[in-house]
């Protein structure tokens, strides 16, 4: 199977580096890192992701604003997993790792759990 293309939008360089490292070493994913949220749309146009990991709180533009921009363009159905450090793991688990049907993962993220979540959202686990 062709590696799935994952766009990771987060201002924390250490986080996007870790996600790239852990996902790509499985051989099942290709990851593009975006640390400047204002560059997300251009990166998505170039990379054509199949799924996006999107931080909620970033300087300049937050995750909601980035997603609104993508949805207003050609990425109306791009699956998204929000990444947040604003909820505890426990708090998120109590909500089945979703908020109103939108998948979330809480930082710090365990690589295995993140991969499982991505595969669930992509519908092949």
């Amino acid at each position: 199977m062709e590696p799935r293309r994952v766009l990771v939008v987060d201002d924390e360089v250490a986080f996007t580096n870790l996600v790239k490292l852990n996902l790509e070493k499985t051989g099942r994913f290709t990851v593009r890192e975006v640390n400047d949220p204002t560059a997300a749309l251009a990166a998505a146009r170039e990379f054509r992701p199949q799924i996006m990991l999107l931080d909620v709180i970033m300087p300049g533009r937050d995750g909601g604003q980035v997603l609104a921009e993508l949805r207003a363009n050609e990425f109306t159905h791009l699956p998204v997993i929000f990444v947040t450090a604003t909820l505890t793991q426990r708090g998120l688990q109590q909500r089945d790792n979703e908020i109103d049907g939108v998948p979330f993962v809480a930082k710090p993220v365990e690589p295995k759990k993140l991969i499982k979540r991505i595969e669930e959202v992509l519908g092949y686990s």
Partner: protein
Amino acid sequence: MQIANNTIQRDLAEAFDNGLRLRYGDTFGPLYSEVMHYRAGNFLETDELRGSLDVEAVPVLHAILNNKVEPPTLLGIRSLMIGCAIAGDQDAVFRWATIGLNRARDWGGEWTETIPQWEAVQHDPGHFVLYARQLKFFLMAI
């Protein structure tokens, strides 16, 4: 007697509140005043506070991911920033100040007045955490 006590408490709280605003000016004065009134009268045990912050964050995150951040959500963001300061979570304070600043700028109107407050907290979240915790624990001790 109860009525008298309540009146005295109210008077003291008001004097304290006014004093904070005088001492700390337009930037930190209103913020410390909100710290003072944040869940007033409750002992803030950290685990319990963390749990309530999780609950409080859900509607705020919902509004953010739907890109519908209006004044009630801005109030929620501010409350989360203050709650996280009392809980001693400096990183979370910085994050909420960041999003509060972005969204206050976007919304404009009366929220423009809060911009220096978000900026000050974002610039030195450790300072805000320290003062918020000192203030809250001082108030709970009396």
